[in-house]
């Protein structure tokens, strides 16, 4: 009997038939593995992983994508994507990715890095990868501190923000100002796309996905390096509940790290 002729109660009584009759609106992306993630409850890493996987699926590049994972909370990122992946030393992902891309120019190579990894120890590597205009995609997760090691201050820590290594609150006279590295990188001719998005609300998450897509297109279309900084929550190390953590991103981080586009190559502008 065709599904269409089933009356609603009949559909309801046989769930598997009913489910088959329905239109799937959302399901697990193919580019994500089945592994349970190690991230803390409510952590934005999980959301960002999913967005990347959705973009990889939608661009149809899973079979030629190679990921380079950082050292930090996302050190196990390679367990969560069904793409070939390598684990870089702390801060070195852009150099490692350069080594991969240069010998496999037709593969899509992206790095996934935290703020400690990219904006502190790895600053030289990301600056020069951008200066060279490496055809790479960089997903830069900014949660204002070092998560994996238990919440220490990072160059992205907010003024006055208490962390385990700025117990009196970050004092800009002593420990300097938050680093706006994505704006800095956007100045380089080799960068084709540089933007900052956030994960603190559904609408922001959708915009983040669009930005990730453009950062991949910058590479796919050979325009230059694409980097997306994504403000992310860290409930555990901020000592906040997942919802409070998203509020912290919205109310405290966004004012210091304004969201927006810092560079959009004109070939990408049509799609922005």
């Amino acid at each position: 009997m065709a599904i269409a002729e089933l009356t609603p109660p009949q559909i309801a009584s046989r769930p598997e038939v009913a489910l088959a009759a329905m239109q799937v609106v959302y399901k697990r992306p193919e580019a994500l593995t089945e592994a349970y993630t190690h991230y803390c409850p409510g952590c934005s890493h999980g959301v960002i992983h999913r967005l990347i996987a959705e973009v990889i699926d939608e661009l149809g590049i899973r079979e030629r994508t190679i990921a380079v994972a950082p050292v930090g909370c996302a050190v196990l990122a390679y367990e969560y994507f069904t793409v070939d992946a390598a684990e870089a030393a702390h801060g070195r992902a852009p150099a490692m990715a350069t080594g991969i891309k240069r010998v496999l120019p037709d593969r899509i190579v992206f790095t996934y890095q935290g703020d400690g990894d990219l904006a502190s120890i790895g600053t030289n590597e990301i600056v020069h990868a951008c200066a060279r205009g490496e055809l790479l995609t960089v997903i830069f997760v900014n949660n204002s501190l070092y998560g994996m090691t238990g919440g220490q201050m990072a160059p992205t820590t907010l003024p006055g923000q208490v962390t385990t290594s700025s117990p009196y609150g970050r004092d800009i006279r002593q420990q300097g100002w938050p680093l706006h590295i994505t704006e800095m990188l956007a100045m380089m001719p080799g960068v084709a796309y540089a933007a900052r998005r956030s994960t603190h609300a559904p609408a922001e998450i959708r915009k983040a996905k669009k930005a990730i897509e453009l950062a991949f297109r910058a590479q796919i279309e050979g325009l230059g390096l694409g980097i997306v900084e994504i403000l992310s929550s860290c409930p555990t190390n901020w000592g906040l509940s997942p919802m409070e953590a998203l509020a912290f991103v919205r109310d405290k981080m966004v004012p210091v790290y304004p969201l927006g586009d810092f560079k959009v190559h004109q070939a990408l502008a049509a799609r922005a």
């Binding site: 079979e63 992946a85 990715a97 080594g99 496999l104």
Partner: protein, 365 residues
């Protein structure tokens, strides 16, 4: 094949091209830079990858990335640069991807100078990075030998999925000599090995990592690495000897000093002194068994190095006090010449007291 005149650094570069290297990442540092410059000219000619990195630290991580794709790749540097590469080398060793590194040693420690030295023996042979492993270390004494060792280094690196370090010094890098260049060939038949990251097309995705959070799995990896090192020790020892058949005394030296020691041996022989030379070519795996066998037949050993006594410790470990071990060391870039070695030999043989206060540091038997 006709011999042509080659500068050490450039000979090494050309030999690497012929050995099938497909990517070079480097950084300027004397006394190695001509190797980088040569690659800058030649690699593009052959449609291969050349990239000068922002630092040696970036260079080794670029090499690490390329190595993960199963593509033959290398870097080259000198002492301070190698120090910056230690973290990357350790990751490469743990990930078991093939990598070739050329280290043209210079005077140290610190900024030191640009003269030749062997002061990094410990750094390269004992610990080329954190954790339990040794790189395969090849020490050429002549430009031809440097070419020959370079030519086999990628095959060695791929055979064991390991690090191969060609350890030379400023002399070797800078001097020119006639050399016979080997023909072009491919590594691994030019195909990426089964473990390589190439994109999960029609196969499960692959991961290359050096992270093993479980202690059991990390120990298992280490046991596997140790088993591999044992195989390398069993199969890859290389060394050279001069006039050891009837030798009563033995000089042990490597690289440039090994070559100079040959002259000292010949000169000593003219004075009737029965001395021979044992020259390790693989500093790791160190030729223990072969040296041990020789010790049975000699009355004393003179170790000569351009450092404060580093390979000396490996020699002492093998000799185990069966005969006196004397040491002659010059540092700062000063090269010990035969005229320095002969008096030390005479002291070893008990013929002459050390008159001119020459830097001879007799090591208690």
């Amino acid at each position: 094949m006709a011999k042509t005149l080659w500068k050490g650094n450039e000979a090494l570069a050309e030999a690497a091209l012929r050995a099938g290297v497909k990517a070079f990442f480097g950084y300027p540092i004397t006394p190695q830079t001509e190797l980088l410059e040569y690659m800058a000219r030649r690699m593009p000619e052959l449609g291969r990858v050349f990239l000068q990195a922002e630092s040696e630290l970036a260079a080794i991580n670029m090499l690490y990335g390329t190595a993960c794709t199963g593509t033959p790749a290398m870097t080259s540097s000198s002492s301070p640069g190698i120090s910056l590469m230690q973290e990357g080398l350790s990751y490469i060793a743990a990930s078991e991807v093939p990598a070739v590194i050329v280290d043209i040693m210079r005077g140290g420690p610190g900024l030191g100078n640009i003269q030749p030295s062997q002061g990094d023996y410990f750094q390269v042979v004992k610990s080329a990075g954190h954790g339990d492993y040794h790189a395969i270390v090849l020490a050429p004494a002549t430009v031809q030998e440097a070419v020959d060792l370079m030519y086999i280094s990628f095959d060695l690196a791929f055979k064991y999925r390991h690090i191969v370090i060609i350890l030379g010094d400023g002399t070797l890098g800078q001097m020119m000599e006639p050399v016979e260049m080997p023909p072009f060939k491919e590594v691994n038949g030019g195909e990426p090995p089964a473990w390589a990251l190439t994109g999960a097309a029609g196969r499960p995705h692959r991961v290359i990592t050096s992270l093993y959070l479980s202690a059991e799995r990390l120990e298992a990896l280490n046991l596997h690495l140790q088993e591999k090192l044992a195989r390398i020790k069993e199969n890859e020892v290389r060394y050279d000897t001069t006039m050891v058949e009837d030798a009563e005394y033995l000089i042990v030296a490597f690289g440039t000093v090994g070559r100079i020691a040959q002259s000292a041996v010949r000169q000593a022989r003219t004075t009737g002194l029965k001395v021979g030379l044992f020259r390790p070519i693989t500093l790791w795996p160190f030729p223990e068994r072969e040296l041990d066998a020789l010790i049975e037949r000699v009355q004393g050993v003179l170790v000569v190095e351009m450092n404060a006594g580093q390979m000396l410790e490996d020699v002492q470990r093998v000799v185990k006090d069966r005969v006196p071990v004397h040491f002659l060391g010059r540092m700062g870039g000063i090269i010990p010449l035969p005229d320095d070695i002969l008096p030390a030999l005479h002291t070893l043989c008990g013929l002459v007291r050390s008159r001119n206060g020459h830097r001879v540091r007799p090591v208690p038997a």
